[in-house]
C-alpha cells in the first residue's frame, strides 16, 4: 500500500511521535510506502507532498511541532474541494490516508470517507475535549507546562501579598485549568462550563489574604462570569462573541483590584502551552496511537479513528470524534472546589 499522512489544526506536542510510529511500523512491519501531505488539508487539496520514509522520521520523537506542517484549510468550504483531493490522491498513487487532527480535521475526514476515500483518523487536541477517547496527546504536556508556571507564581504571590492570575488554554472546556490548577494547588479555578460569581471569587481572595498567603487563580480562556456581572464591552469580544485571548485574565485582575483593593497581576501562557517536547505520557500515547492507526489502515478499518479506553488503544467510528464535546463534569469540578479559598 501507499499511504498518505497529514496533520491539521493547532500545534500539539506528540504529532511527530504519531508520524514516526506510523512510518516505522508501516515500513518495517508491513512494507508499505508513505507520502507526506503538507500543511493539513492544503496538502492533498493542492497536491503538495513531501517524502516520508524511515530517514525522514529519524530523531523526531522528542520534537514538538509537526514535520508535515499544519493549517486550518477546510476543503469543504472550497468549491470542488473533495474532487480536487480525490484527484490529487490518485495522482500521488495514494491508497489510504491517515489524518491526524482535531474536530475540524476529523470532520473533513468523515465527509471524505463518506464519499469514498479510505481514511483513518488520529484524534488530536490539547484541550482534551474529544468525547470518544479518555485522553488525547498534548494535553498532559500542556498541563505540566501550566503547572510549572503556577508553581513559580506561588512564591511571588506569597512574598508580595498580591493576587496572581494565570490564564490557560480552554475556550470551550476547562480540562487544562482543572488539572493544572489541581496539580499546582490553585485557590480558585474558573472554567467555561461553570460561569463564575465574581463576589464569591473575591471572597476567596480576601479570605486567602488573611492567612498571610496570597491567592492564585487559574482561569481558562473561555471562562466567563454569570450573566449580568462584569459586563463586557464590544472591543473586548472577538468575532464569536467570546472574550479575546488574554482578555478574561486581565479583566479579572482589574475587577479584583477594584473590589478588594488588593493588587492583582495576570500571566497569559498562550502558545508556550502547545510547543516544545512532549511529556512521557504524551510520547507513549502518541506512539501507541500511531501504531494502532497503521494497523487499522493495513487491515482496512477505514472510517475509524483510534482512541484510548482505560489502558487500551481501540478504534471507534470517525463520527464519534465530532458528535459531542467532552466538557468537565460537575463531579470533577466539585473535587477541585474542596481546595478553593
Amino acid at each position: 500500500m501507499r499511504i498518505g499522512v497529514l496533520t491539521g489544526g493547532g500545534d500539539c506536542p506528540g504529532l511527530n511521535a504519531v508520524i514516526r510510529a506510523v512510518v516505522r511500523k508501516g515500513v518495517g512491519v508491513y512494507g508499505h510506502e508513505f507520502v507526506g501531505f503538507r500543511d493539513g488539508w492544503r496538502g492533498p487539496l493542492e497536491g503538495e507532498t513531501m517524502p516520508l520514509d524511515i530517514q525522514a522520521v529519524r530523531g523526531i520523537l522528542p520534537r514538538g511541532g509537526t514535520i508535515l506542517g499544519s493549517s486550518r484549510t477546510n476543503p469543504m468550504k472550497i468549491e470542488g474541494g473533495v474532487e480536487k483531493i480525490k484527484d490529487n490522491l490518485a495522482t500521488a498513487g495514494v491508497d489510504a490516508l491517515i489524518a491526524i487532527g482535531g474536530e475540524d480535521t476529523l470532520g473533513v475526514a468523515k465527509q471524505l470517507f463518506d464519499r469514498g476515500v479510505s481514511v483513518v483518523g488520529v484524534p488530536k487536541t490539547i484541550d482534551n475535549d474529544l468525547n470518544a477517547t479518555d485522553y488525547t496527546f498534548g494535553f498532559d504536556t500542556a498541563v505540566n507546562i501550566a503547572m510549572e508556571a503556577i508553581d513559580r507564581l506561588h512564591t511571588t504571590a506569597e512574598s508580595h501579598h498580591r493576587a496572581l492570575i494565570c490564564e490557560v488554554m480552554g475556550r470551550h472546556a476547562g480540562w487544562i485549568a482543572l488539572h493544572a490548577g489541581m496539580a499546582a494547588g490553585a485557590n480558585v479555578i474558573l472554567i467555561p462550563e461553570k460561569p463564575f460569581d465574581i463576589d464569591r471569587v473575591c471572597a476567596y481572595v480576601e479570605s486567602r489574604f488573611k492567612t498571610r498567603y496570597a491567592p492564585i487563580i487559574v482561569v481558562a480562556e473561555g471562562a466567563h462570569p454569570v450573566e449580568g456581572q462584569m459586563a463586557l464591552q464590544d472591543g473586548e469580544l472577538d468575532a464569536f462573541g467570546h472574550v479575546k485571548l488574554g482578555g478574561i485574565g486581565e479583566m479579572l485582575a482589574k475587577e479584583i483590584e477594584k473590589r478588594t483593593g488588593k493588587e492583582a497581576r495576570t500571566t497569559v501562557l498562550g502558545h508556550i502551552q502547545r510547543g516544545g517536547t512532549p511529556t512521557a505520557f504524551d510520547r507513549v500515547l502518541a506512539t501507541r496511537f500511531g501504531l494502532r492507526a497503521i494497523d487499522a489502515a493495513h487491515e482496512g478499518e477505514f472510517g475509524t479513528m483510534v482512541a484510548l479506553q482505560g489502558t487500551e488503544i481501540v478504534t471507534v467510528g470517525l463520527d464519534e470524534a465530532t458528535k459531542e464535546l467532552k466538557t468537565v463534569p460537575v463531579s470533577r469540578y466539585a473535587e477541585a472546589e474542596v481546595f478553593f479559598g
Copy 2:
C-alpha cells in the same frame, strides 16, 4: 471521627499530595480530626504520632517524600504486633486508619482489617505493578525522569559511537523501562518479564552502529538473560538470587564490549527516579486518591482501597492489591519491539 494516616514502604512522588487531600477534605468538608503516625507501621506499633491538621499539610502538594516518614517495619513479623497496634490506636482515640503504601503495607492493612481494624488503603508503587488499578502515582514521575535522562544520553551516544545503557527501576515488572524506553526512543528495552537473548541484543547494537547512530539500551534492574547465557557469579547476586542493584546494567556493558568490540557505558538512575516533585499526572491522581479515600473512611467502606479505572476513581477490596502482580503483557512489549534495532 478521628482518623490516623500513615505511609509505608519506598519513597514515591505524590505521597504528600494524598495526605493533603485526605486532611483538606476530611477537615474542611466532613469535620473530622486527624493524627499522623510516623514511619509507616512503626508509628502505630510504637504509638509515635504527630499532629496532622490543615496547617501541617500547607504547601506540601508539590513536595516529594512524605511528611510522615516511612519504613519497612512489618508488624506481622513482630510478636504481639497486631495487639500493640490496636492498643495504640485506642490510646490515640483513632476510629479509622488510612494506610498509604505498596503490596507489603496493604497486605498488613488487609490482615488488620480482618482482625477488626477499620482501614482504608491507598495503593502506592513507583513500579506500576498493582493489578487492581490502571496506574499508581509516582510511576509517571519516574518515567519522565528516566526519559529525560535517556534523551540526554542520545546526544552522547551519537557523538561518540558508543553504546549507552540506562538501568531503571523494576525488579519484577518492566513498566518503567517499557514506558521510558518507548518515550525516549530506545533501541532495545529489556524487562524482567522476558529473558533476553544476548546474541540478539548484540545484533541490534551492531546493526545500529552501521547507521552512524549509536544504540541506547534501557534495562530494568530485574531483567536477566535467558537460561545459560552470561552466567552470574555469587558476588553479583543478592540474598534473593537477583542481580544486585546496578548489576545487570554493568554486566550488560561488559558483555556487549566483549562480544561487539564497541565501547559501552552504563548509567544507573537509582533513587533519583523516586524523589522530587511529582508530575501533574501524579499530583492529580494522588489528590483524587486522597479525596476518594477520605470519602471511603467517612462512609465506612473499610477493607477497601482506592483505584483508578479509566478516568474514574473507585474502591476495590484490599485483597485485590496483593492478589497478583501486574506485569507487562506480551502485546505491550510487542509494541515496543517495532522500534528495536
Copy 3:
C-alpha cells in the same frame, strides 16, 4: 553580635539562599544571633520581627520567594522614618543590619548608613542592571525560564507560519531579552537601550517567512519604537509614561499584522520569570553573596555591599549600587544582531 536581616523589592530566586548562608555561617562559624525583619523596610519601621535561627533556614535553599516577605515600603518617604528604624533596631537589640534588595532598598541602606546605622548590602535584581557587580542572582533563572518558553514557541511558529512575540522583563535594561533571545535563537531582539525601527522589524519578519520558518521576536517590556513610529495613546501608557506591562508585545503584534498581513501572537511571561526554584548559578552566587555579607558584618565593613567580579566575591561601597544603571552596551547588542532575520 545580634544582626537583623531583611529583603526588599520584587521577588527574585535566590533570596532564601542568601538568608540561609548568612545565618548558617553567622551562627555556625561566628556565633552571632539573628533576627528577621518582615516585608522589607516595613519590618524595622514598624518593629515587626520573626525568629531567624538555624531551624528557620532549614530546607529553604531551593525555594523561590523569601521567608522574610518583602515590600516596596520606603522609610525615607515617611515622616520620622529613620528615627523609627533606629529606635526599633535598638529595641530589638540589633547591632547590624544586612539588607538584601535592589536599587531602592540599597539606596535606603546607604542613607541609613550615612546616619549611623551599621548596614551591609546584598544586591538583588532580576534585571542584572546594577553596575557594581558582574551578575546578580535571579537573572540566570529568569533567562532560563524565558529561554525554555521561547524554545517552545519555536515549534508552534514553524508549524503554523505565524510570527510569535515573547515579552520578557526589563523596563530600563534589556539583559534578559538579550540573553534569552540569544540562547533561544530569536530572530529579532528588541531592548530599551535601542529604540527599534518597525520597518526593519517587519523586513526581518517577511524575510524569515520566505524560508518556510517563522519568526520569533523577543521584546523587553521597556522596548519602544524610534520617535514618531507606532504612536501610543493615553490608555496604553502608565503613570511614568511607559508602555504598560503586556503592552509593547501586544502592540507589536498588531503592528506586524497590519504591515505584513501575517498572523502574529504574543506571550507575556510576567511573574513566572521571578518565581520558583533558582538555577545552580543563582544558588551558588546567592550563597556566596550571603557568606561574604556575614563576613563583612563580622569584620565591621559597614556601608558596603557584596559584588561579583570575575569569579571572586568582593565588597564595594554601597553607593556603587545606585550610581549608574548597567545597560546593554552596543557591542553586546551587535553580537546578537548577527543572528537577526
Copy 4:
C-alpha cells in the same frame, strides 16, 4: 577564506552552539566558506569532510552533542600524522582551522600551529578545569543536571533515614561536585583536590542522622581517601591507578554502612551530565566563543584560543589552555565546608 571546523574529545552541551555561531557570522558577516571535519582530528587526518553552510547549522543551537561527531584520535601519536593533516587541509582548500576541544585537542592544535597550520582554538571541558578562562561551556549544564538529581535525592533521604551518595564527574578537579553540592545543599562534598578522612565523613553522617534528616554526600569521581584509609584492591583501579568510574561512590557506601550501621545508597550520574540541551548560560557562552573565534580567524590571530574573563570574551595563547590544570582552591572549598554536617 575557506575555514575548517572540528570538535574533539568528550561530549559537551554547547558544541553545536559554537559551530552555529562560527558559521552564521563567518558566512553572514565576513562571506567566508566552511567545511566540517568529522570526528575530531580523525577528519583532517583521513580527509573526511562534510558540508557546513547556513542550512547545516539551522536548528542546532539547542541540541546537545555535535553535528560534526567527535573522537579521541591523536594525530601526534600517528606516524606522519601532521603531514597527512597538512596535505588534507591543502586538498580541501582550507586556509584556517577552528578546533573546538579540551586539553588534548588544543594541545594538538598548538603543535600544528607551531608547524605552520593556521589554527584558532575554542576551549571545551565539562569539568571547568582550564586555567585560561573563567568558565567553559557545558559546565553550567552539568552542574544543573547534577543539582536537580541531588534535589530529588533529598526527599528520599529524608523519608527513609538512609545516607545517599551522588557520584558526579571530575577526575582531576572537583568543580562540578563543588557547585552542584553547594547548589543542592549537600551535607558533605568530596573532591580530588582534598583527600578525605573517612572518619570525619562518618561523623558528619552520624550527626546528620540525629536531626531526623538524612545525609547527602556528593563525591567527584576522582575523590579519594587520605593515604592508608579504605585500601583499594587491584580490580577497583583502572589503568591509571584511579578508582574506576562508579567506583568511589560504591566504595564509600559500603564503608559508611560498615562504620555507621546505617544504610547507604549510591547514584552514579555518568553520561547524563554531558548530554542534552545546554542551559542558557552555556548557550550564550558557547555562542559568544564562536563569534569571537571567527573574528580571530578572520583577523589572522592564529595560535590563540578564546576565553572568558569576567564578562568579556578575549583571546589568549593556545598554550595557556594546557599549561596548568585549574583546580578548586582551598578558599572555595572552605566556603562549602560551612554547610557540612
